[in-house]
Amino acid sequence: MDNKIYVSSSPHFNFKCSTQMIMGTVLFALLPEIIMGIVLFGLAALVRILVSVASCVLFEFLFQKVTKQKIVIANLSACVTGVMMALVCPPTAPVWMFIVGAAVAMIVAKGLFGGIGSNVFNPALTGRAFMFLSFPAAMGASWMTPKTLGGAVDAVSSATTLSAIKAGTFAIEDGTLWQYFIGNRAGCIGETSTLLILISFAFLLLAHIIDWRAPVAMVGTVAVCSLIAGENLAMSLMTGGLMFGATFMVTDYATAPVTKKGRLVFGFGCGLITFLIRKFGGYPEGVMFSILIMNSVAPFLNNLTARKYGYGKKEAK
């Protein structure tokens, strides 16, 4: 026994899983959406994803360097933010805007709040919100028709379904639903294909990376509200960023509650606000704002805890 003996508090066992592995798994789960984005929108999509990731990692590195913190870019969380932010932006937005968005995401939304796990607002969505509000023309006024639908790479013509629905000019044709399901439509780089997002969702669920509660509550709430309002259910669910947001954004660890009940209420709130914005708001899509609004109340939703063992139903505090 010549080697060093370590003394520490129990437990002395740990499930072999690290922050880096979780982030890596999320990146893997995002691959189908990345590939679909490139298939639909070509090089434009690829360039934006790469720029977004590179600038997120760079800004996180710089922030940690300047504020003399431990450099933790190896945990891959900045990469995840970069990919997610690119996937929820239109392929037509100028590349430099992604750099601005990345700066806001990594420095304002994440770094200043204390870094990984401490941020209140989803960094990717905060970056997108900044771009969306600062450069509305580039971020949603016009949309690129997918190459698969015969659009040239730089064709900037089509409108998204939600804006069409809002304007009352949308009509469902034969086969439209299937095209929407597989993702053959105009929209943001990574959020078009319901099918692929469902695959990612199932994968993340089976890999025990995400919890079903918030996503199911969110999508369920939108579905119920749409039915009550007499909207087309399938279109409400498959258009816009609902599926992507429910799978990747409301399951973001730091900005959602950690308790089970809290997550259900969180998802419900996201769904309700999404529906209200879509139906009555000034914007065609409400997923981004609904999640950001609910992010702000997530810390309070953590008070919705389970009944602790040994506390009878009545005296439970």
């Binding site: 129990s10 002395h12 796990g117 040994g310």
Partner: protein
């Protein structure tokens, strides 16, 4: 029969196969010396022997006057060499009586006593005389546990045969090798809890077994039948899951009841005893043998050939090397007294096997983890796995912010420190360590307030 269970919990790798084929073999320290802690459970004892005294095997060498005291006996026939502070489980230093064994073979055992002819008082006195404490690790005096306040009606006596800690197999081996002794011990506990001879209690005995040990059922059933206890003793199979062996989950899985917060199992009508303790109780009556030996598992990836052994209480673990077991060269990074989930990491192997030492685990770097703590990512895994349904990440967050009350509302004082949260934490946050520190702060505050109140009362009384 469907295995019962509880919500939450984890499935760590069990490593039972390393040692569950090894019969419990008697072993003796190579130095022929034992280091017996003066107190092993209960209130602090005083040594009753002096350096130079000759002692017999089974002779009381330390005891105390109080109800909570539990006597300690010499585990060998020999001569007291020293009485001094030594390293014990928990890394503290505590008074120990060091006895060098001789070949005289003096024995000073208790007279044999028929448990079923004893009154409750006689039986409890015997259990105390024999120095029996809970052998699962907590070392709570058994004569206190088996004598709950009169207003607590006991419905179940549960034998905790879950053995949910990875590596440890000594309870499993004991049930395999001596099923009738386990059943006899349980029958004696039932007899005591039901009021002794002529008692009117109606408690039933249940052996709670994890289903990875389901193969023991036929044996145990046969032993119950042979003892003629089929109407009062049964077996309950529970799913293999950590921390099934924690008493709260033994109770909830086997009976569907919950032990109220900050209360004892008796408040849920249950008395729980460990497999080893049941055997020790049987020996105390049938053989007049005080608790001076115990079975334990020596295992872990750094051990050349893991074993189950039975050694005199006070045997230094390092005294068993290399005769009883050997370590792989340069492999061990942690020495654990107990199992890897709740055991104590020891600075060296020079500590004695006490009444509550159920095993010693020598872990390699690959088995354990030495990662540095990183920032909590709020993934919520700890909340999902907490069998107590607490919110570990939030407790720790509130503790960091200094909000003790808020931390309490998330369950600070209800934590049983089983370690599921830290086990699943991807950021390797020292959750249990921080919760222990938080509990310490709360207890210190309570003590201070109590002292203040007492001082105030004394002042007012003086006026």
């Amino acid at each position: 029969m469907r295995a019962k269970t509880f919500k939450g919990g984890i499935h760590p790798k069990e490593y039972k196969e390393l040692s569950n084929q090894c019969p419990v073999t008697p072993a003796f320290p190579s130095s022929k010396t034992v280091t017996i802690p003066v107190t092993m459970g209960g209130a602090p004892n005083q040594p009753l022997v002096k350096v130079g005294d000759e002692v017999a095997k089974g002779q009381v060498i330390a005891a105390g006057e109080g109800f909570m005291n539990c006597p300690v006996h010499s585990s060998v026939s020999g001569k007291v060499k020293k009485i001094q502070n030594c390293l014990i489980t928990g890394n503290g230093s505590s008074p120990c009586i060091i006895i060098e064994a001789d070949d005289a073979g003096r024995e000073n055992l208790l007279p044999v006593l028929d448990p079923f002819e004893s009154t409750k008082e006689q039986a409890l006195a015997r259990i105390k005389e024999a120095g029996i404490v809970g052998m699962g690790g907590a070392s709570f005096p058994t004569h206190v546990k088996l004598n709950p306040p009169a207003d607590k009606i006991i419905d179940y006596v549960l034998i905790n045969a879950a053995e949910c800690e990875p590596y440890l197999t000594c309870d499993e081996r004991t049930m395999l090798e001596q099923p009738s002794k386990v059943v006899d011990g349980l029958a004696i506990i039932l007899h005591v809890v039901n009021g002794g001879k002529g008692g009117s209690g109606h408690a039933k005995g249940v052996i709670v077994l994890e289903d990875n040990k389901a193969y023991l059922m036929p044996q145990l059933e046969k032993a119950i039948e042979e003892a003629g206890k089929t109407d009062s003793i049964s077996i309950c199979l529970v799913k293999t899951k950590y921390p099934q062996g924690a008493e709260k989950f033994i109770v909830s899985a086997a009976t569907g009841r919950e032990i109220p917060s900050a209360k004892l199992p008796a408040d849920a009508g249950c008395v729980i005893s460990n497999v080893g303790t049941a055997c020790a109780i049987s020996d105390a009556f049938r053989l007049g043998m005080p608790l001076i030996e115990r079975s334990l598992t020596i295992s872990g990836g750094a051990v050349e050939k893991p074993v189950n052994i039975r050694v005199p209480v006070g045997t230094l673990v390092s005294d068993l090397m290399p005769e009883v077991f050997q370590l792989k060269e340069n492999a061990v990074v942690k020495i654990i007294s107990g199992g890897p989930m709740m055991g104590f990491a020891m600075a060296s192997a020079d500590f004695p096997v006490a009444k509550g030492t159920s095993g010693v685990t020598f872990l390699t770097e690959k088995e354990t983890f030495l990662d540095e703590e990183s920032q909590c990512i709020s993934c919520g895994s700890c909340v999902a796995k907490c069998a107590m349904r607490l919110s570990p990440a939030l407790i720790v967050r509130e503790l960091k912010a200094g909000n003790i009350e808020k931390a309490k509302s998330f369950g600070l004082m209800d934590c049983i420190e089983c370690g599921c949260c830290a086990f699943v934490c991807p950021a390797k946050v020292n959750l249990i360590q921080r919760i222990r520190l938080g509990k310490g702060i709360v207890r210190q505050k309570m003590a201070e307030e109590k002292a203040k109140a007492a001082a105030k009362a004394a002042k007012e009384g003086g006026k």
